[in-house]
Symmetry: D2
Subunit: 397 residues, 4 copies
């Protein structure tokens, strides 16, 4: 009998008990007359997490990948030019998806460990006087490398050129965990998934669309039906869906939004930052470095830890899983074997982070890495003690 | 405090406790080294429910509509001609989806209440010497009217003309409840959803593809990525998925397959037939008729009951829901207000059917319909008593 | 695969989903500093269900039998004389328990089907000038026969003689379902269990004690420790318990009290009465009679249905269970084989009652009883339709 | 939103997900004809955990305290002399319970931190030529001080004097976690609770009784009914209970026994020992000592850690709970404020122990104790790494 696996992949994340209970329900009729009493406030409250008032957020049964597809097929047409940077597995995959839908993606490759190259985007946009570029893609948080990009800066670059391209953001591993401001940054399309900061099982793709994106949807000729915004707009307004929604996940989303609201979004972000900082202190204490090449790119939801060439990071992940029941993330694609990843997002507190660090230390030592036992734990402990919130201090007084 | 709503819409259906428990789990890493130990047998066993050995079944996070989309975008190209019949809301919607994906659908409209017009299909196929028709769509069980079509007969029509068109079947409300034989009928694409006979919440689209369909996929140029078979084929073979799967639903699917296996698929079909026959006896006892125009079209998973013009069927459904906590299905589109629907599929036994009938009787009387109280219940009771299985009789001896 | 058994024994009763979810929680420390924030309001609110302000309600891990034991061992001493009537299995068992604790029980046997013989109690008490009788036991609702006794009348009998005996009431199958007024009737000890009107699993014994009972506890010499009131009084006042409490059931009790409060206790009683009346209409329509010998004894929580001598009631119960998945109550002891029992308490609505009736009809017919199919269902349906509450009517309008 | 409290009190313990799911079920009829199919093997398998073939194990709705009461009221009579040692809060409470049931307890007080004084017991028994002592009480694992006593040695002492006294053992925090051999040690009464090694919520008292104890029960005159063995014997043999059992906990017990069986009892004991040793290494690394005065008394289920006089142990526990969501055990009675307790029993692995240690370190430092950050964690980590089982090593290879 082994205890429950300790889950520290960067998604799916741990589901709070309250959310789990909210989903453990009998089935219900999604066409019932009182179903809208549930749906309408849900969709409204969801907008707050995207920080949008003017936009609309659509919820599809699907995964984040489905969200990417919804965002571009609703607003672009085959042949449209799109500007994107590739610096990790997930920025790569979105580009791939665009290409498979017939878009003409202009790819800027940058080193894995860096983020969106804002200056190069700015240059490129400035040169695009004919506005051939119809959309700019930004991966807000590259889950493969633990890199957070500066979306606001991309918006500034667009504005500097008065460029009308749609600003499309992959917020799958940022929204609800890292500050994201759809309206303030004039993001046109924002994609999220249920299994990250929303603390739900995988199964919901959420896409925020600005009025400009909705206008673009009217002219876009990409074929679409399952992910069509128009069907959602027509039915959502009355509290229904164009086809059977994933009601258990929607009920869970209600509980998730309630938890986020109760803690306060800004507190949620601060908690992620503080816990992530504990992980970073530990990595430093281990004498290791992050894949993220500069502190300005440090992700508050996932840390990709580089290991010396002498060691296979996959072995660390395997040992952690098999020997200690600790689920860490492997390195993907270009950084396979070179990094292991600690997910630190969603339903998380100090003790959980320390658990991940303690287990990582054992697995690293088992794999032959000479980190000092307890060193990372100690560094994180002291960080957590020094930064305990006044509320926690008061409560504990 | 009202008791749990009695759910008798034709999907989502009641989730067995064992399935519900199987889904109430902590999250897990879908890239874990032992995840394939779970996935590989699951996908294998799922094929048995589709009754295919030569085909492959794909499981997407999505709904049945997503399954329709997957089936056609993977195997057809914009401009391809498709033959389909429209005789209810769901056969209509699939046609609509095809059109939105740029297919050229030749629609044969037949009366709602009838099924796939096999003779007309046969004639049309026979005339299509150039094989312009690339696919034939069949809605195996039209949920809107309670009509089951004869898929085997469509196959015979294709064979009679030696026509190479793909045979695409919507089995959303038939597979796992009504006999469906993918290999024997040489069905090329079979679409199912989790929330019907599989007794799960909505959220999984399942698509069976024959070797011929998989071959067609290589040439089909419809844009696709989220629902792409190729990514699934590449990753499923090792027990993984191209993106985060809906693991809780997959765990539930495991429990569902185990239940279906334990009962035996043929017994599951027989149970559905026997329970449906009880409903039909009740409808007759009420002096009412079914929307299905002929017994050969009687659906064993849903009955659409026609009400006299003097009464609004929607009012019956509303009264049942609000006054007695009974969830029935409304009539959709052309038959709105003219029929109410009793779903009788999935996790169901005699007592549950009687509950639906007893509640329907009250609601019909409340709405002014002069059915005799208890009449339908009595007819069904006697049917159930007379047809109690030998096993039940023995157990009760 | 058979569907969930339909549970219509007179306890355990069906647990509402909200209560079930409230119990599906991680364990917690019952000595935690914030545990009293949960316990103190819980115990306070529980008193409202007993309708007591002056008394105290104790909650023990245990069953109703434990509650009987707590009530008498805390307040009486070996050799004490107790007056009780025996008219069913549960009144019998409480007498037996008293005897095993060394009490001198004066038993008045009355026919099973009758209730507490108030006049004979009154006579006996009037004659007891020396007040040798220390306690009077009343089984408020005899679950074996479906008989509700008049507790208020027993109080009047005591008052008429100015008799100081403690009034001890078994309210296991009445409290929270049938009107019970601890303070108004000056009940000194009131015993309840979790698995009846409180809609919880078995596992909690609840005992209400009046100030007079608590005073008597100081002098009572019966040995006791596990069920000792004094330890509870000492610890409950701060929100704790003398030993590890059954926290999951306490969390469920919180949800149960919230449901009772939301519906309103008087509405709960009215609902039970209305649903019970539906059962009684059905029994009459079947041409059968209740074990309860007079309408004034009709229980609103359980009906014991007499069957003709030609039929074995146990066979009906067995057939219902094995053939249709319907759980009815067998006759116990003296009425074994002569009655079957339908429990109609707790989390229940009209459809659920009709389910029980429909299944009973089939089982009775299977057992050879010539009740007309649908007859009982029809009688209950019409009763439910005629007595639909204005709120239900309005909601359904 | 805080994450789930990390529970490290010495009971209730963490409930495995499989057990939790097994209890999340609809209610059932405990008089159903197939209920014995569940009960009979359950009671049989439970005996294996007590390591008894000749004895019988009774399961009562109740807590461990109820188990104590059952053990002595069934087998002893008021005035009977009983020998017991007091060296912690729980050994104290059992003595208190005996006294309240009229037994004449001869108490040997030893220092808290020591265990059962076997030599003094041996002396006393040797002197008791008249066999006035009817029972000897042994607290196998004193939860208040983290002390495990040597039950086999007490048996040897009894045998050495050929003394017929019953050997009564409180195994509440040992059985299913620490080796306990009812038959081999000729234990006559063994008391366990559900919320410790059985990994269930509180609510079940389990009492093993030897044939000799059952024989004694026939003559014992202590009043009893709720906890009467005889009623259990009469009904258990057919798979039933004398009153409504706590069926959800029984279903959970089935899952718990299955987990224990799957791991293997001896492996369960070895796991507890190894994890406990990790805690002890940590305590040593902190420069602190255990309450248990000698290694032979070290408990493998709970460690009571002594803190210097300058610090209030309660403050550490309070800080851990309020600031970090870590539930530790406070010191009770004589050792209040002097020790804090880490429960390490039940559903537990290395990472969970490290979590408790990491949190304890932070709380100790917050309270002003100068333990080195990470020091205890490091000591335990290295112990766990060095003692990883061959199976774990192989699995991870």
């Amino acid at each position: 009998m082994s205890a429950r696996t300790a889950l520290f992949v960067p998604g799916p994340t741990n589901v709070p008990d309250a959310v789990r209970r909210a989903m453990d329900i009998p089935m219900e009729d999604h066409r019932a007359p009182d179903f809208p009493d549930f749906v309408l406030p849900l969709l409204q409250d969801l907008k707050r997490v995207f920080k949008t008032r003017s936009g609309q957020v659509f919820v599809f049964p699907g995964s984040g990948t489905g969200g990417w597809e919804a965002a571009i097929t609703n607003t672009l047409s085959p042949g449209d030019k799109v500007l994107a940077a590739r610096f990790g597995q997930f920025s790569h995959l979105w580009i791939d998806l665009c290409q498979r839908h017939g878009l003409d993606v202009e790819v800027i490759d940058v080193a894995w460990g860096e983020g969106t190259p804002v200056e190069r985007f700015a240059e490129r946009l400035a040169k695009d006087a004919s506005h051939a570029i119809k959309a700019v893609l930004v991966c807000h948080n590259e889950t493969a490398t633990g890199v957070t990009s500066d979306v606001a800066a991309v918006r500034r670059a667009l504005d500097a050129s008065e460029h009308p391209a749609l600003l499309c953001v992959d917020g799958v591993s940022s929204i609800a965990s890292i500050d994201f401001r759809m309206d303030e940054w004039a993001v046109d399309l924002a994609v999220a998934g249920s299994q990250k900061g929303f603390m739900l099982p995988a199964g919901l793709a959420m896409v925020g669309a600005s009025p400009k994106a909705l206008e673009a949807a009217k002219a876009a000729t990409s074929h679409r039906c399952y992910f069509d915004f128009a069907d959602m707009i027509r039915t959502n307004k009355d509290g229904y869906f164009p086809y059977t929604p994933a009601t258990t996940l929607l009920r869970g989303l209600r509980a998730s939004l309630d938890l986020l609201e109760a803690e306060g979004l800004e507190n949620v972000f601060a908690r992620h930052r503080r816990l992530a900082e504990g992980v970073r202190k530990a990595v430093a204490a281990w004498g290791l470095s992050l894949c993220a090449a500069h502190p300005r790119w440090h992700s508050d939801t996932v840390s990709a830890v580089c290991v010396p060439e002498s060691v296979d990071a996959n072995e660390i992940v395997g040992l952690a899983y098999r020997r200690y029941g600790l689920s860490l993330g492997v390195g993907l694609s270009k950084v396979a074997g070179k990094v292991f990843r600690i997910g630190h997002l969603g339903h998380l507190n100090e003790l959980m982070v320390l658990t991940a660090l303690a287990g990582s230390e054992m697995a690293m030592r088992d794999a032959g890495l000479a980190v000092a036992p307890g060193s990372g734990v100690a560094a994180a402990q002291e960080h957590f003690r020094e930064t305990a919130t006044p509320r926690a201090r008061a409560a504990a007084a």
